[in-house]
Amino acid sequence: MSAEAAPAIDPIHQFNIVRLGEPFHIGGVDASFTNASLFMVIVLGLISVLMIIGTSSKAVVPGRIQSLAEMSYEFVANTVRSAAGDAGMRFFPLVFSLFMFVFFSNMLGLVPYTFTVTSQIIVTFALAALVILTVLVYGFIKHGTHFLHLFVPSGVPAALMPFIVLIEVISFVSRPISLSVRLFANMLAGHITLKVFGGFITMMIGAGAIGIVAAALPMAAIVALTAFELLVAFLQAYVFTILTCVYLNDAIHPGH
């Protein structure tokens, strides 16, 4: 890539955070309203509209919006029940909120000229930290020190025990990192790939008549990639949800 072509292809540019309106500080922390905040508000608005309209009519034979709301409820409820049991249903509001927020952010990010909230590591890390803190707080309140049996599996030979405990502790500590980075990395990589292929098109069109014909190839690749990204957007929301349920299951039934 030559130096003068670099500004035309800047796949990281889409993740820039831009302040909208006046700078606003709380206790020395920059809490200005940015494009990230704007899209979080849009995501919350979309979810609220879907759920309020979906639950307002309560028809026996559901319409389009109502069946969409019912499907998302059923889907998340089945996931929670299969991964955390019926006791896990008390965390349903948390898990449902997480799923809808992640899913709508991922989907909205695929619309051109939008901002993907979940491609910011701090957003996904805040969500993952919320999950892990819920697990820790609920586990210690419900089970007390018995919660620490999570790190001491039964039926392990005494000689292996220190290593097993060490491995279990490391795997628990790495959970918030892997949970947040998985979502962030998938979104980041997908959007960078789309932008790089978009850059190929502009470069080829700049090259002349043959380039315009050849530009159909990366264009077809973008269409295929966008379809793939739709799958990834749903899949990562699902993976985030089911891992949340698995971790909550540890807090509900430790020592299994």
Partner: protein, 75 residues
């Protein structure tokens, strides 16, 4: 060796880890599919488990990605 060059080489080497994680994820879904084709009626119940396994295998590849990102962007 030039430290900047070493950084980029290190990030490239870390990318190998992501390829190996891809092998792991492929093995999980390949085995899930071969099991599901033998007994399609039991496949739906194990769908979530296949994804948990894939997510955990992917998690190790993500640490490789993290190493590459840290090498590239953290001063």
């Amino acid at each position: 060796m030039d430290p900047v060059a070493a950084k980029y080489i290190g990030a490239g080497l870390a990318a190998i880890g992501m390829g190996v994680a891809a092998v792991g994820v492929g093995a999980i879904f390949g085995n899930f599919l071969s099991g599901a084709l033998r007994n399609p009626s039991a496949a739906d119940g194990q769908f979530g488990r296949a994804f948990i396994g894939a997510a955990l295998a992917e998690g190790l590849g993500i640490f490789a990605f993290l190493v590459a990102i840290i090498l590239l962007f953290v001063k």
